[in-house]
């Protein structure tokens, strides 16, 4: 049943692309496009919830498995396990929130939602594919809509950012394609199903180079330092819904690929090399180091930003560092935490981008913290201020929110693996508090007195009122992070067995 999330998303995209563009009454067709997009996103979310509930307590469930390219042994194989179900749920959530937060898009509305739904469909597809080839196909399908979403509807240096994002993604997927071709040729099993490939006993020497290439290839999209530079520019340039999707689910595609493909298929690539240099003795150490650098680097750079959205952009790099660190701990608790962090960061980053990009920017038309300082948003936009307070503390990792459970598990996993990883990334959390605090204070609760020339004579002009889609989507995302924060087992019960099976080498 989960497969329908993919089909209805693509069908919706096609429908919206073919929707006749009203000549005079453009408003009408735009309203229709919004409603269609919302209906499809909600339907996808509903299917995701139902599928998640139905899959409780089950291992891998095959949804469909038919030969696709019989001559090459490629199967159209969709299946879901505990990890996929959680991420599909996240995608549905991000899709609904994304549509709601783009309710005010007036420029080429139906095309916007067509690209949006095409991207969502590709993301659903990646999470549900259990054939390496199919996974790759969906992974690449997701690249093109991203480009157009940013290039057409974006802001700050949008064409540059869109091209950069598209090329980074494509280079990453080219690396994956090389490994795919090599694994297909080497395994000799004449099948590209993940299960078959993981059983093919690929030679250790092959895994030793295939693992890092795959991990970097997917890691580019997960914001792996130093290949993360597309992320801040891309997030900032993207329209709100697209930055929500980028941070919320697209970066997870990369992390998911690292887990499912790199670690799942080439586990021996993480074995020690047999020699070490300054404590770096395996690819695992290398990528853990990169992840830790990413955590610290992202946090420190976020601390120095003057653009509100860049703060969130770099914080994404930092938080995704926790995901990558959790993955390479290879411990049950660490990888659990990584998957939970994917969900958690997807929700929280989506919310932060929505507040900055939609609720604040669309009203103030500036994202410069220095200018926001003189606007007293704490009093003039109380909804935005309090929403950001809650999202901010969730992002800092306060208990009661999903981020806390996730990052705690990652840190425990890292401690089991190598204590200094935990020590270093703990510093990242502290800096995380600092930059969130700084942004919060500057943007909303400044006590700087206005200069005389700043103070308008007839009082402050009123901002547009907060609209219902904004309130609904904000509450939805709040609920998503709170429920998991208070009762993490709701997701962990699903994640744990799947991670266990994956780490045990086989895919069940």
């Amino acid at each position: 049943m989960l497969a329908w999330t993919i089909y209805i998303s693509f069908a919706g995209a096609l429908l919206l692309a073919l929707l006749p563009k009203g000549k005079a009454g453009n408003g009408q067709s735009a309203a229709l496009a919004r409603v269609i997009a919302l209906a499809i996103a909600v339907a996808g979310f509903a299917i995701a919830i139902t599928g998640f509930a139905a899959g409780a307590g089950q291992g891998r469930v095959t949804i469909v498995d038919v030969p696709w390219v019989p001559m090459m042994g490629i199967h159209y194989m969709l299946a879901d396990d505990g990890i996929s179900r959680v991420l599909v749920l996240l995608t549905g959530l991000a899709a609904v929130a994304g549509v709601l937060f783009s309710w005010n898009i007036e420029h080429r509305t139906s095309e916007f939602f067509a690209f949006f739904l095409a991207l969502i469909g590709g993301v659903y597809g990646v999470f549900l594919s259990f054939d390496l080839f199919l996974l790759f196909v969906f992974y690449e399908i997701a690249i093109v809509p991203k480009y157009f979403l940013i290039a057409i509807w974006g802001s700050t240096r949008r064409e540059y950012a869109a091209m950069k994002l598209a090329l980074y993604s494509f280079v990453g997927s080219a690396m994956v394609l090389i490994v795919l071709l090599a694994a297909y040729a080497t395994s000799g099993s004449h099948s590209t199903a993940l299960v078959d490939l993981s059983r093919a006993n690929l030679p250790v020497s092959f895994q030793m180079w295939a693992f890092p290439v795959t991990f970097i290839g997917f890691g580019i999209l997960a914001g792996l330092w130093p290949f993360h530079t597309w992320a801040p520019t891309g997030h900032v340039a993207a329209p709100t819904a697209a930055s929500m999707l980028l941070a919320g689910v697209v970066m997870k595609l990369g992390a998911y690929g690292c887990l499912r493909v790199a670690i799942g298929l080439f586990p021996h690539g993480l074995d020690p090399w047999g020699w070490s240099f300054w404590g770096i003795g395996s690819w695992r150490d290398v990528f853990a180091l990169l992840a830790v650098i990413g955590i610290l680097f992202g946090a420190l750079v976020a601390l120095a930003q003057t653009d509100f959205k860049f703060v969130i952009g770099y914080s994404s790099v930092s938080h995704m560092g926790f995901v990558l660190l959790g993955l390479v701990t290879l411990t049950q608790v660490g990888v659990d935490g990584a998957v939970l962090q994917m969900y958690s960061h997807g929700v929280i980053a989506g919310l932060l981008f929505a507040i900055v990009g939609r609720i604040v920017y669309e009203r103030t038309h500036t994202r410069q913290l220095a200018e926001l300082e003189g606007m007293y948003l704490g009093r003039r936009l109380p909804f935005a201020a309090w929403a950001f307070v809650i999202a901010g503390v969730a992002s800092m990792g306060l208990p009661g929110f999903s981020g806390f459970v996730a990052e705690l598990q990652v840190l425990i996993g890292a401690w089991i693996a190598k204590p200094w990883w935990t020590a270093a990334s703990g510093v990242g959390i502290v800096i995380g508090v600092a930059y969130t605090w700084r942004a919060l204070q500057k943007a909303f609760f400044t006590d700087r007195l206005p200069r005389p020339d700043e103070h308008p004579k007839e009082g402050w002009p009123k901002f547009d009122a907060i609209t219902w889609p904004e309130v609904t989507a904000t509450c939805l995302l709040f609920a998503a992070t709170l429920i998991v924060g208070v009762y993490p087992s709701i997701l962990l019960n699903s994640i744990e067995p799947a991670v266990k099976a994956l780490l045990a080498g086989g895919m069940q």
């Binding site: 390219v69 019989p70 001559m71 090459m72 399908i141 064409e159 091209m163 090389i178 090599a182 297909y184």
Partner: protein, 513 residues
């Protein structure tokens, strides 16, 4: 051999030539006073019927082809890869001719159509040819047609210029090719491909390795020119820019299919003999453990591999700097030729390899015809193929914008479009032959280069979808042109979503062999 057998093998060629004559008779004899578009439609219709008849006659060709009198050596092959290439040539010819409808670059409609059909006859011949003389005659028949087609827009100086360049380069490369052929004949005493390959194991050849290299380099120059491979590509950008759109589409598709079919023929003959004779006593570029690394032994593979790498690197990098969409497509064609040549270098003679090459070149030909069709529609409004002519096309013709989106992304190799499967098939075929270090590095380079290519395809799509239109005049194509373009786009999508369809269709040609 008697003439009845010859006739039976060349039925498709005969059908095309009859159609060419009919086009001339009908147009010049009966339609002299008719309106231009009527004449175009009538001529294209006859040509399409001719191509259809050619396809229909193919099952009646003599099984396995035509042999020399009194021997078992093939003169013309039939069935298998030849049949696939011939069907492909006929389909692509039909699509090319559809692009003619609605154009007005020439009043000499029937001549254009007849030359297209005769050139296609040359294409059919070389995809079947197993003899140096037939190869040369077929190539010349094809090439002379292409020179004429390039020059057909008599009012355009560019057309004449590009035809002249094409002709001069073409003449020279034909001379090189003939020179190489003469050496081969001198070394082995035969013009038949199989006999030549056998001769490679003889004492004359072994003792004159350098002459073999001279001959093979000359031949590579001649055939490299046909497929526009670096460093024999210099004609391509100018010709693509100056020639009328249907002519370019023909050069970019049919002529390429025929040339690669010829390369498959040469490879198959070589592989056949190689399997008979084994590795002993033959001119090789690598011995012992080296073979394991580089994955091929013969000098021919070495030459082709060098050309392939040069083409994909240079073609992709040069395309980055283009401002004319036609030139961009020319350099992208060079790059695509490079990918295919890689598979030619690592050709194993198995059906999988031949099919991977044909799959690539046929789908590439289809896509590129569509791309040139779309470009020509825009050109007709703006009189220019500069990138800026495409500004805001989404607003001015949504369908055309969608067509360009699909076709260009397919050329870039984005799934689930057919171009992606073609690439995957091709690279998988290379790695199937040999998984040594060098072929793997070549494939990695090719994949990396196709990542580069996304940049320049997106440059065009950016203007189509992202940037605002410079003026709002709608871009209109004739309904038939738009219909054909939409059909090509649909095929690209459907074959991309169901890649098995075309593979099993191609496999069915080998069923009886």
């Amino acid at each position: 051999m008697n003439y009845a057998d010859l006739f039976r093998v060349t039925l498709p060629e005969t059908a095309l030539d009859i159609a060419a004559l009919l086009v001339l008779i009908v147009d010049l004899g009966f339609l002299r006073k008719a309106a231009l578009q009527t004449r175009i439609v009538a001529s294209v219709l006859i040509a399409v019927l001719g191509c259809g008849a050619a396809v229909l006659t193919m099952p009646y060709q003599a099984d396995g082809g035509l042999t020399y009198p009194g021997t078992t050596d093939l003169l013309l092959s039939a069935g298998g890869y030849t049949a696939i290439a011939q069907v492909g040539i006929l389909i692509l010819t039909v699509l090319t001719l559809f692009l003619l409808i609605g154009s007005d670059f020439t009043k000499h409609v029937s001549e254009f159509v007849a030359v297209v059909l005769m050139a296609a006859t040359g294409g059919l011949l070389i995809s079947a040819a197993q003899d140096l003389l037939v190869i040369f005659v077929g190539l010349e028949l094809l090439s002379l047609g292409l020179y004429i087609l390039t020059a057909f827009a008599k009012r355009s100086g560019k057309s004449a210029e590009s035809a002249m360049k094409y002709y001069l380069f073409g003449g020279m490369s034909a001379a090189f090719l003939l020179f190489g052929f003469s050496y081969l004949y001198g070394l082995t005493g035969s013009t038949n491909l199989h006999q030549i390959m056998l001769g490679f194991y003889g004492p004359t050849v072994i003792s004159s390795t350098s002459l073999v290299y001279v001959a093979l380099v000359m031949i590579a120059a001649g055939l490299g020119f046909k497929v526009a491979a670096v460093p024999f590509h210099l004609w391509a950008p100018d010709t693509y820019e100056g020639a009328p759109a249907p002519a370019v589409a023909f050069i970019a598709s049919v002529s390429k299919v025929a040339s690669f079919a010829l390369l498959i023929g040469i490879g198959t003959a070589a592989d056949h003999i190689f399997n008979q004779m084994g590795h002993s006593d033959v001119v090789t570029v690598s011995r012992g453990s080296m073979t394991k690394w580089i994955g091929f032994t013969g000098p021919w593979s070495l030459i082709i591999a060098i050309i392939a790498v040069a083409s994909m690197v240079f073609g992709n990098l040069a395309a980055l700097a283009q401002n004319s969409v036609r030139r961009l497509l020319a350099y992208s064609a060079i790059a695509h030729a490079g990918y295919i040549l890689l598979a030619v270098a690592y050709y194993s003679g198995s059906n999988i390899n031949a099919n991977a090459i044909l799959y690539y070149i046929l789908t590439y030909g289809l896509t590129t015809i569509g791309a040139f069709g779309a470009v020509s529609v825009v050109e007709r409004i703006h009189g220019s193929d500069r990138m800026d002519a495409f500004l805001g096309l989404y607003k001015r013709n949504g369908l055309l914008a969608g067509v360009l989106l699909v076709l260009f992304l397919s050329l870039a190799g984005i799934p689930p479009l057919v171009g992606f499967w073609a690439k995957f098939n091709l690279f998988a075929a290379v790695l199937q032959v040999n998984r040594g270090m060098v072929p793997f590095a070549f494939v990695a380079l090719a994949v990396a280069m196709s990542a580069v290519s996304l940049y320049y395809y997106l440059q065009v799509l950016k203007r189509v979808f992202v940037m605002p239109p410079a003026n709002e005049t709608p871009v209109k194509g004739t309904p038939l042109t738009m219909g054909v373009l939409a059909l090509i786009t649909l095929v690209v999508v459907v074959l991309g979503c169901l890649p098995g369809l075309m593979q099993s269709w191609m496999a069915s040609f080998y069923a009886g062999m």
